[in-house]
Symmetry: C2
């Protein structure tokens, strides 16, 4: 290292002729640019918005979706856009308020007891306030120096939640990432790189047998997608049979894996679900851990929905065996009621977390690790720029403690149980499973309908309920036949709401069946057989 630096001092062959330093740099930015960053304008706008959001949060009316024709909404939204293009438009508080009103008035009303359809929910309002702070201070949290408190809060929150998982606190690791799909992909990467470290460098071609993963027939689409993304290939997904409640059957898992092994597949990972999306089913983790261990497989648990049950004394048992898993996806934007997305990915062995990715980039990574970079997460999560998503969760946890989450989870599960009891008591309804958490699937089946008819009936009911605007529920196919699905995500939902929903479904269902009988009758009378 004795060569001189003079040759890297400048890439320009000719000497530079700098202009005098009296140009642009001494002019002020334009007033309209400065005004857009004016703290007082922020303050006044904030008061307007907070007032509107307070009203919004106070509306407890029972309502579902006001589904607008996208073309109509597009036109309304376009009219809210300033036509000014040549200069910065004058600030127009009315325009902002109209946008806010259009925003709060459309989409799923997550705070209404009429909303029972998806796995996201109204958030703990304090979480949103901390989201505002995070948005303003804009400290992306992949590097300690950029986001000091978020980096530390991740460590603290990881410790808190790991008390419920039960891993060795000196060995486990946690990273936050943008959604459950990305967490599942990252865990599969870590598993792949442990089993086949050469793929990162050499690629997946030229291997003696194809890498493969085993998943439940009921696994979330992000898991099977990940196989496509990683170059494993969907054909190398071994589907494990489930029971009628949607849980992997451990007695059939072993033989299925052995059969895959005989076919030359090189299995490296078994993915179990703690709360499937369809029915909220919990795979038997303890038994599956034994199956995985015997075969040297990485056990990843997709607990995006159900990991939160660990916080509840009443429901923790659904995840018995979690301490034997290798990794766990946990969405705080589902049953911890945070703004989306806020996903936590846990590893039992922190050193494997570093195996998911490899990179070199002198502009962000320091040459020599120090006390600061020890808190960096960029080498362990997919994102380079990452929202400080832990802050709303850590703040709510710090202010209210874990009992807030446990109480709400218990309430939601209890009310789902209640829905199950009520539906099971109705002769014209059929529940598809006993609920394990806060998801329940059922069908309106007043008669012994043919499968195709029953399928169409549920779809029609779901769409008419959505169109009716009082409730929002979802649908899912179970054994190839559509079922109605409620996800109880709001503690305000009570038995009266459930009774209203049941009555509405029956009413719609009866009308659909009568209309279709009338059509059949007409067709027969007219001799039509189409």
């Amino acid at each position: 290292m004795t060569s001189s630096l003079s040759d890297v001092q400048s890439p320009f062959p000719e000497p530079l002729a700098p202009e005098p330093a009296t140009g642009e740099g001494h002019r002020s930015p334009t007033p309209s640019l400065t005004a857009a960053f004016d703290p007082e304008r922020f303050h006044d706008g904030a008061l307007d918005i907070v007032s509107r959001l307070t009203t919004y949060l106070g509306d407890r009316s029972v309502r579902g979706l006001d589904l607008l024709d996208p073309a109509v909404l597009l036109k309304a939204a376009r009219e809210l856009m300033t036509p000014e293009r040549q200069r910065v438009a004058d600030f127009d508080a009315d325009r902002v308020n109209q946008i806010v009103d259009l925003y709060t008035g459309t989409g799923i009303p997550v705070y209404s007891p009429g909303y029972m359809g998806r796995q996201f929910s109204g958030v703990v309002p304090l979480a949103s306030l901390m989201d505002l702070v995070g948005s303003v201070v804009n400290q992306p949290s992949s590097f300690y120096e950029a986001g000091q408190l978020p980096s530390v809060a991740e460590r603290l929150m990881a410790e808190e939640l790991n008390r419920f998982i039960g891993w060795d606190r000196d060995r486990f690791a946690m990273v936050t990432t943008s959604g459950g799909s990305l967490a599942n992909l990252t865990a599969l990467l870590a598993a792949r790189n442990r089993a086949f470290p050469q793929i990162w460098t050499r690629g997946a071609g030229g291997m003696s047998g194809p890498p493969a993963i085993a998943v439940s027939e009921e696994a979330h689409y992000s898991v099977t997608r990940a196989a496509g993304v990683l170059g494993i290939g969907e054909r190398q997904i071994v589907r494990l049979p489930v029971d009628r409640a949607g849980r992997i059957r451990p007695d059939l898992a072993g033989p299925a894996l052995d059969e895959a092994h005989r076919r030359g597949l090189r299995l490296f990972c078994l993915v179990a679900s703690a709360g499937t999306t369809s029915m909220g089913a919990f795979d038997p983790l303890e038994e599956l851990a034994a199956v995985a261990r015997r075969r040297g497989l990485w056990l990843h648990v997709d607990g995006a929905h159900g990991a939160s049950l660990l916080l509840s004394d009443r429901h923790r048992d659904r995840l018995r065996g979690i301490e034997q898993a290798d990794s766990l996806t946990w969405d705080a934007h589902k049953m911890l009621f945070m703004p989306s997305p806020c996903t936590l990915l846990f590893y039992r062995d922190g050193t494997t977390a570093r195996g998911a990715f490899r990179q070199r980039a002198s502009y962000v990574f320091d040459e020599e690790p120090d006390v600061y970079s020890a808190y960096d997460s960029a080498d362990k999560n997919f994102e380079c720029t990452k929202r400080p998503m832990i802050m709303p969760l850590w703040t709510v946890w710090s202010v209210y403690g874990p009992a807030l989450f446990a109480q709400r989870i218990d309430r939601l599960c209890a009310m789902t149980r209640q829905a199950y009891r009520m539906l099971a008591a109705e002769p014209d309804f059929a529940v598809a499973h006993e609920p394990e958490s806060n998801i329940l699937c059922f069908r309106y089946l007043p008669d012994d309908l043919e499968q195709a008819t029953a399928h169409r009936l549920q779809l029609e009911i779901r769409n008419r309920i959505r169109g009716g605007g009082r409730f929002f529920i979802s649908k899912v196919d179970i054994d190839g036949v559509a079922a109605l699905r409620v996800v109880v995500m709001n503690h305000l939902i009570d038995a009266d709401h459930l009774a209203m929903l049941i009555a509405e479904i029956r009413d719609i269902g009866q009308r659909v069946l009568r209309a279709s009988a009338a059509t059949r009758h007409d067709q027969q009378r007219n001799g039509s057989h189409s």
Copy 2:
């Protein structure tokens, strides 16, 4: 389809014995749970936080980083956590305010003119207010029915920005996604799936030649990471040589690709940068498009940083040729000054956007596309639950128009030019390149130092400036030797701030060199040669 549904009505062999519907469902949720969702508590908390943020935004003092020992911060943060575990802790507004103060007081002060170090910035405050609304209404935007306005706003924003790209408006497509890394991965997936559709199903093994991509030596680490993730393998990355300013040399790109082809690599994608991370260099897109077209390669442009220059009449020309690219990554959280992350991924041909992923999931995807599902994006982006990240951008655009962005971009580039002029006029500084946007790399080089000494000197200067707390700048290795790097992301930065920074660097540099000379002198006097 004539089989009866009676066999799927219930998975339970025995008849259900429902409990009477008078249990939990008729009890109210606990008062402490209800109180956590109280709109008035939200309102009062919001006023406190807005007041604190207004003060924070008004602080224009010149300051860098107050870098705390993580252990000290960890202790301070832990003390803010309620010890209550058995019941929901009483609400404590002081605790919230202390958390906010700790949050705003740590991390990078992005609104200060002392911050010149990274590619994220203080945000347009209105964007954060819309982020608050989005956080409260919590409408994940991958499906139209969940987030109606965000879905429509994506369409409108795509149209607006595509005016500057110039693609056929009936053919192009845009999706939002959580960060530039994920956008680059998604584009590479779409390219891979177009060239090798069989990989999604069969996996990457057993191909006759390994799939490969070509990237700049200066490409962001997320691009090379993606090769590892997708199973392409780092060895199948063809590195294209760059000139001294960090731009791919198109005259050398063709031969490099032909050589890779002769070695049996099956190239499918060329990745160019519109604004590299290190030096903000813009690859010559027009020439590279010709190179790619001749070889049937997908041209992806990583414009995470620099695509925003399209909005500026003065700087648009840096992206000449963009209309010939196949896909473009554009981070609105960089030069459009949005909260992180807000990334837009554009495709010239919208049908290829659907090629990135394949999935089936009856709980979210409808059987028959309708006018609503035509606005769904979940089949085209990685996430299932996705933050409605478009709303802050669309709102600011709607209220202020494109000129706000163009003016700020022009200001930042002009000020970077100013920094270049000032540094070039200083005999003891060496600029590494002529700035193409708002990134400038340079070294403090008062003497003709050896490379290793020069390298260590820059690192030491960077760390001492960071520790000094008045400025925050970054560093990057160029040709193996560290350089100092400023990213001008704040319109308040003027020539006086730059002069202060230059003086501080010189002062620190001189002290470091004197100290090291004194050490050498001591060692020589003591006869030490270690």
